[in-house]
Every structure is written in structure tokens, then in C-alpha cells.
């Protein structure tokens, strides 16, 4: 049993294939029933099933110190190139942080292959006719990526656990994650906004070769995002895109949206983007701050319990 989150059994993340295909339609079932007409009251929200799985995913991620980032954009925004560059940067600057990717496309594993070349673990999810990733796909993909520890090898105890200072330092340190999980969603600015995957943050990527007015044309996506990345800024001299207009439009839809301008090609802005990823800073309303605080407390309590177990078994 996993000593961190309590689930039983683990899958070997190295076992191929690391592609999950959801391109199959629903199966119908028929059961013998009564012949009289009657009404069954359901009052069921249609996204309940997805949201329940998303909550489970979120809890699972918190238990394992995973910060999951949902990357969203139109096709052609440069998501995959930016992701590859980001992974290289993270491997160099913060080698202690674990990295993994769930890659979503309708067909092919070409994007997953590009990620694999960076040396990072990746699972490709093919959605078939589907236009977005859903929580169940993420649950299945994470199961293939993640090895549940039988012992707490991921935690590094301080020199003197019994000292009040060490405990105080542990309580008040900034929430750097043990792992970053990038979920590269299907290229689509409409549907993925509705489908909670259990991620910590939604990041929307808009490139300067697209229109400045996109936030107004696709408001749902920009409203649910925590961060807007404006990509391909190295091309600004050749296009009429004005970042200030795009940011103004986005902030009209979502006043709390963070914005970072980047170029995957030149590397400009990448350090600000990586800092945002590691610090988990986001200007949120009170409920989301509270939620982040509760997650942090829960995670620290689990770490403390685990460190105490480690200390009691140490010679």
C-alpha cells in the first residue's frame, strides 16, 4: 500500500505502451425492466461524474506533492515547443523537482515523442473524436506515470527533527512542489475550459501570430485561467499584434489573470515563467487562497507524519 496516499497496488511506469486511446464510443447496456411507465427523478448535474474524478485527482496530486499544470491554447500557439524548452530549463535549474507530462491530442504520439527526447516521462492520451481531455483520462494517465512509494524515499529529513527550529522552518517554507506534472491539453480554446482535470492551475497560451481580441472571442477560457502566456514575442517586429491590447482584453474578462510574455525560441521570459511555476504564486480570490492554504497544511501534516515514522525507525 502506498504510504503517502493510501492507495493499493502500483503500476510500473516503465511498462510500454505509454499511449492511452480513448477513441471508442460508449457501449450500450440493456437490462430487463418493468413494462409500466414511471418517472425516475435524478436532479443530476451532468458534469458531476467528471468533477468527482477531478476532485479525486486533485487530492491524489496533493498527497504526492505534485503540482499539476493544465496547458491550454489554440492549435499552433507553440505549446509543445514551449513545453520542451521549459522542461530543459527546469532540468538544469531545479534538478530536484520531478517532471512528467501527459500529452493530449486527437491522434498520433508525435508530441509525446518530442517530449520523450527531453528525457522526461510522458504518457500520450489520444482522445479520438474527443475535443478535450477529461478527468478520467488524467486519472488513467497519472496511474501509468506515477510509482507509489512503498517507503518514503522522496522525503529528506532535517538534521535534527526534534528541534523546534527545524519544525518551524518546515512549517513556513514556501510551497515548492516535489514534482511538476504538465498536462498539454488538446489544442482547443472552447471545450477544455469546462472540464476540470484536478489541476492546480490552468495556463492559457496565446501567440502573437493570433488576434489581440481572442480573449473577448473565447471568454470562458480566459476567465478560468490563472496565467496567460503570450508566446512567440520574438516575432513582434513582424506582426501587428500589440501585447498591451491583448492583456487589456484578457483583464476585462479576468481582472486577476497573471500575464508573462515569453519566446520559446529565444528563451526570453522563461525564467519568469519558471519562477511562477515553482512558487505557485497566483493572485486569487479568498476562496482559492484558502484552498491553497488547506492543501499546503494537509501536505505538511502528511510529511510530518512520514518524517516522524522515518525518525522512529532510524538507527
Amino acid at each position: 500500500m502506498c504510504t503517502v496516499c493510501g492507495c493499493s497496488g502500483h503500476q510500473d511506469p516503465a511498462t510500454p505502451p505509454l499511449t492511452l486511446d480513448f477513441g471508442q464510443g460508449p457501449a450500450g447496456t440493456h437490462l430487463p425492466g418493468v413494462t409500466q411507465t414511471r418517472t425516475i427523478t435524478l436532479e443530476k448535474n451532468i458534469l458531476d461524474a467528471n468533477n468527482a474524478i477531478a476532485r479525486r485527482n486533485r487530492q491524489h496530486f496533493v498527497s504526492h506533492g505534485v503540482r499539476a499544470i493544465n496547458l491550454l491554447s489554440s492549435p499552433g500557439s507553440g505549446k509543445t515547443t514551449l513545453l520542451c524548452k521549459t522542461l530543459d530549463w527546469l532540468k538544469t535549474t531545479v534538478p530536484a523537482v520531478g517532471l512528467s507530462v501527459i500529452e493530449g491530442d486527437q491522434q498520433t504520439s508525435m508530441d509525446a515523442e518530442r517530449i520523450r527526447e527531453t528525457g522526461v516521462s510522458v504518457v500520450q492520451v489520444n482522445t479520438g473524436k474527443g475535443c478535450h481531455l477529461d478527468a478520467q483520462m488524467i486519472e488513467a494517465a497519472f496511474g501509468k506515470l506515477h510509482r507509489h512509494p512503498e517507503s518514503d524515499v522522496s522525503l529528506k529529513p532535517s538534521a535534527n527533527l526534534s528541534s523546534q527550529t527545524a519544525l518551524a522552518e518546515m512549517t513556513f517554507r514556501p510551497p515548492q512542489p516535489d514534482q511538476l506534472l504538465f498536462i498539454e491539453n488538446v489544442g482547443n480554446l472552447v471545450c477544455p475550459a469546462l472540464w476540470d482535470l484536478g489541476e492546480a492551475h490552468k495556463v492559457v497560451i496565446l501567440s502573437v501570430t493570433e488576434g489581440e481580441d481572442k480573449p473577448l472571442k473565447y471568454p470562458d477560457m480566459f476567465r478560468v485561467a490563472d496565467l496567460l502566456l503570450i508566446n512567440k514575442i520574438d516575432l513582434l517586429p513582424y506582426v501587428t499584434f500589440d501585447p498591451a491590447h491583448a492583456i487589456e482584453a484578457a483583464r476585462r474578462i479576468n481582472p486577476d489573470l497573471d500575464v508573462i510574455e515569453v519566446s520559446a525560441t529565444t528563451g526570453e521570459g522563461l525564467s519568469a515563467w519558471v519562477n511562477w511555476l515553482l512558487s505557485g504564486e497566483t493572485k486569487g480570490t479568498d476562496p482559492s487562497d484558502h484552498e491553497a492554504l488547506m492543501r499546503q497544511i494537509e501536505r505538511l501534516e502528511m510529511e510530518l507524519a512520514s518524517l516522524r515514522r522515518h525518525a522512529s525507525t532510524a538507527t
Binding site: G28, E43, I46, H132, L194
Partner: protein, 113 residues
């Protein structure tokens, strides 16, 4: 279109219900769609109709109830109609509004046989 995904979710809900209280097929399906849910009623009806054959919802009647979008304007201290979740108040232009209603997408009930 995600109305197809939503139609699949609806069918999954109905099939789970069928396992709890067995029936042969659905005669009428009643669904509430909020104006701010982001769901296109015609597209959803199309998806449900076309995935029907071979499932418990084949040939069933679809009844849609609509809920108007509205929000509370703190500047006017009253509830006003909303066309989109991020629309400004139609009277004073204040935005964003609070306590947005009309975002639901819910199966009310099924008439089964």
C-alpha cells in the same frame, strides 16, 4: 463539439440509473440548460438523437427547460439579466457581477418504461 461529450455523460448517467432501477427504455428525458452554461441546446439535442440507436434513449422525447442568466449588481443592489457570465450590468455597466445564476446543466428526470 463538446455537446457530444456531454451527451455521452448523459447516457452514462442514464445507464447507471438503469442498473439501480432497471427499465427497458426512456420515453421522455427532461434536461435543464442554463443560458450561461455554454451549452448549445440544438447541438445537444442533435448529439442525443444521433447516439440514441442501440441505447436506452433511442427514440426518446427530449424536453428542455431553460434558466435565464442573471447576476447581482452590487452597485445597483439588485439582480439583473445576463447574456454572458462576464457581461456588465445592463443598467449601470458595473462588472463583474456576483451570484451568477443560469450556469446549470442538469438531468431533471426520466420517464421510463
Amino acid at each position: 463539439m463538446h455537446e457530444v461529450s456531454l451527451a455521452e455523460e448523459i447516457l452514462a448517467i442514464i445507464e447507471r440509473s438503469q442498473q439501480e432501477e432497471p427499465f427497458t427504455r426512456v420515453r421522455t428525458l427532461r434536461i435543464t440548460i442554463g443560458d450561461l452554461s455554454g451549452v448549445e441546446q440544438e447541438a445537444l439535442a442533435f448529439a442525443l438523437t444521433h447516439m440514441g440507436p442501440g441505447t436506452p434513449i433511442e427514440g426518446c422525447e427530449l424536453l428542455f427547460e431553460r434558466v435565464q442568466g442573471s447576476g447581482f449588481c452590487p452597485a445597483c443592489s439588485k439582480r439583473v439579466p445576463l447574456e454572458f457570465p462576464q457581461s456588465p450590468c445592463i443598467d449601470c455597466g458595473h462588472m463583474p457581477l456576483e451570484e451568477i445564476l443560469g450556469t446549470e446543466l442538469r438531468i431533471r428526470d426520466l420517464e421510463v418504461v
